[in-house]
């Protein structure tokens, strides 16, 4: 057998950064080089525990390292959160189709993220900024539950500074202690999509976040006037094998691991119950 698709490549954990009380960013160095496209996902293994799908949050142009921003929500992520630099993890992939960057060229790109859903979008954003002249405009709308739940706190303020090419809107659902960063509003992320000032006929929107946020953001964007084929959604299902076989990530006829994880709303709009 030439290649075993179930076999992870070993990777060394170099660095762990606390983003929020339950989200950390892990910098790993694969022992064999892995190249990927932004938006594609990897299966990350905790040896002896299991593996789970994550989309890298770093740019594919960084060849020797990959970053993953991971919320502690299940068995594998719980173990990951306990790991210290030097630990060995496994990586399989990349799997699926990434963001179709060529379709974004010459357009105004709106990126809408919710919570830890900013992870894959950060990879996209970094990739877009590397060749920002290719895109007419880039705008980021990001919502988190509270100021403490904002990820990439350092980067976000940096992104705000490259104002000429990047327009950033931040919001938090609630801010009881009045701790939100400068320029950050209070309200659901959909509120940041009001009066976008974008040329919607020549714009694409890329959305990633928890299902409820994806649902209402999509409805909002449709309301704004985006065509279903110009709304790109990252569907996070229970991707396991990555080969389009094992069946766990099926969404109607699609295997999210193979046909996604990025879909246009046009592809999904007639499927009942897509937001659950």
């Amino acid at each position: 057998m030439k290649e075993n698709p179930y076999q992870p490549v070993e990777a060394k954990l170099l660095e762990v950064t606390d983003e929020t009380p339950n989200i950390k960013t892990f910098v790993v160095k694969p022992l064999e080089e892995i190249s990927f496209q932004t938006g594609q996902f990897m299966e990350l293994t905790c040896p002896g525990v299991g593996e789970a799908p994550f989309t890298p949050s770093s740019s594919p142009s960084v060849k020797d390292k990959m970053e993953f921003t991971i919320m502690k929500v299940g068995g594998v992520t719980q173990t990951l959160h306990e790991l210290k630099p030097g630990a060995i993890v496994g990586l399989r992939g990349p799997f699926g189709k990434g963001y179709p960057l060529q379709d974004f060229e010459g357009k105004e790109v709106l990126i809408v993220g919710g919570g830890v859903g900013l992870a894959p979008l950060r990879s996209l954003l970094l990739t877009l900024l590397e060749e920002k002249e290719k895109y007419k405009k880039i705008m980021l709308c990001y919502g988190a539950r509270s100021p403490q739940d904002i990820v990439y706190k350092g980067c976000v303020s940096g992104w705000c500074e490259v104002k000429s090419s990047l327009d950033v809107r931040l919001t938090v659902d609630t801010d009881e202690k009045n701790e939100r960063p400068k320029g950050c509003g209070v309200g659901l992320v959909t509120t940041t999509c009001d009066s976008l000032g974008l040329d919607l006929k020549n714009s694409v929107a890329i959305v990633c976040g928890p299902p409820i946020m994806m649902k209402f953001t999509t409805l909002k964007l449709l309301d704004c006037g985006y065509a279903p084929q110009n709304i790109y959604l990252s569907m996070e299902k229970n991707m396991s094998c990555g080969l389009g076989i094992c069946g766990h990530c099926m969404l109607d006829k699609y295997f999210v691991c193979k046909d996604g994880p990025v879909f246009t709303y046009e592809q999904l709009k007639d499927i009942p119950d897509i937001w659950t």
């Binding site: 057998m1 030439k2 290649e3 075993n4 698709p5 179930y6 076999q7 992870p8 070993e10 293994t45 905790c46 040896p47 002896g48 525990v49 299991g50 593996e51 789970a52 919320m71 929500v73 299940g74 068995g75 594998v76 992520t77 060995i88 496994g90 299902p211 996070e236 299902k237 229970n238 396991s240 094998c241 080969l243 389009g244 076989i245 094992c246 069946g247 766990h248 990530c249 099926m250 969404l251 109607d252 006829k253 193979k258 009942p272 119950d273 659950t276």
Partner: protein, 353 residues
């Protein structure tokens, strides 16, 4: 397709030569009141091989897709499927060939890569299929436009005649087997018109009988078309509330159910990645970390099982992922019947109009 005739004596002579060459041979034998694939290790068993019976109780799935196996380790070690010199599975029925075609589509031909474990086993296996000699009450291949005799997907197909077989050659691997037969001294002759007539008459009689038996389940709409309008049917809830006990029997016995679960387990200093058969009716099947579940109810999972077989697979691969073998009905403690389910959906749709 090339057809030849071989007598039982000549064929048994060939089988004996293959055993001497250490080929692995599996064939349907009667064990208690069950017909099942058994490994043939002694020429004394040749007489017991059932070519003209009906589908075996268990399908050929597990020959290619093991119930449980280690597929990788961390750190990496040499996990590789066992290499077979040559393996012949005989007496495979048309329904199981259909199921193998389903696997071929998903695992081999149209996946993002050929699944290596399946590929290696499939390529090293020679499939000798055979016409059904009779049918069971649960058989419904004819409802799915199949026949109780193989028409494609075999290396060789055997139609049983009074004292021998008509052998149809269906692939290059089949040609190889014919050559091996010749080398073993077996005599193959042209098929006579009388033998052709006997084959045709046997096939027609059984096909007619099956069609007759399934007449009460004939519905005007194709199953995939029916699925498209059955998402909101009350049938799924009825199956969930009154019939399904979530035993997984149907999914394990099903020749086309190809889903699996990967899990990691510690063994000594290794982390072993294990692949086992999995079932989409299990509650946690599609659940994601954090607990969100796209199909939280049994009725939604049962519907998914039907839709995967009769709608999604058709949309993706242009064929049903159901062979009409009826095994699922045979094992189901709740007596969930595919034919009946579609008949009920059809009735419901009619009433609604």
């Amino acid at each position: 397709m090339e057809s030849l005739y071989i007598s039982c004596v000549n064929f048994n002579g060939f089988l004996k030569s293959t055993l001497e060459k250490k080929w692995e041979i599996y064939a349907p034998l009667k064990v208690m009141d069950s017909i099942r694939f058994e490994k043939i290790i002694d020429p004394a068993a040749f007489g017991g091989i059932i070519f003209d019976g009906v589908r075996t109780d268990q399908s050929v799935k597990s020959f290619f897709f093991h119930t449980k196996e280690i597929v990788a380790t961390i750190p990496k070690s040499s996990i590789s499927p066992v290499k077979f010199e040559k393996r012949i599975i005989m007496g495979v029925k048309g329904c199981d060939l259909h199921a193998l075609k389903v696997f071929d589509k998903a695992y081999y031909e149209e996946g993002i890569i050929p699944e290596p474990f399946y590929k290696e086993r499939r390529e090293s296996t020679y499939v000798i299929s055979s016409d059904c000699g009779y049918s069971l009450d649960s058989c419904f291949c004819t409802l799915l436009d199949s026949k109780p005799y193989p028409t494609e997907g075999f290396d060789l197909n055997f139609s049983t005649l009074k004292d021998g077989f008509i052998v149809e050659v269906g692939s290059n691997k089949g040609e190889e087997l014919i050559k091996e037969m010749g080398e073993s001294g077996a005599v193959l002759s042209d098929v006579t018109p009388v033998q052709m007539e006997e084959q045709k008459s046997n096939r027609d009689t059984l096909t007619k009988k099956l069609e007759e038996a399934n007449r009460e389940f004939q519905i005007p709409k194709k199953f995939d078309e029916l699925c498209k309008i059955a998402f909101g049917s009350k049938i799924w809830k009825e199956l969930a509330d009154n019939k399904c006990v979530q035993c997984n029997g149907c999914l394990h016995i099903c020749p086309t159910c190809y889903c699996f679960l990967l899990y990691d387990a510690k063994k000594d200093n290794l982390s072993e990645r294990v692949r086992i058969w999995d079932a989409c009716i299990n509650a946690g099947y599609a659940r994601v970390a954090g607990g969100a579940n796209p199909r939280p109810t049994l009725q939604s999972r049962l519907r998914h099982r039907f839709f995967h077989k009769f709608l999604y697979f058709v949309q993706n691969f242009n064929m049903y992922a159901c062979s009409g073998c009826g095994r699922c009905f045979k094992v189901c403690p709740g007596k969930i019947e595919i034919r009946e389910t579609f008949r009920d959906i059809n009735k419901e749709v009619k009433v609604k109009r």
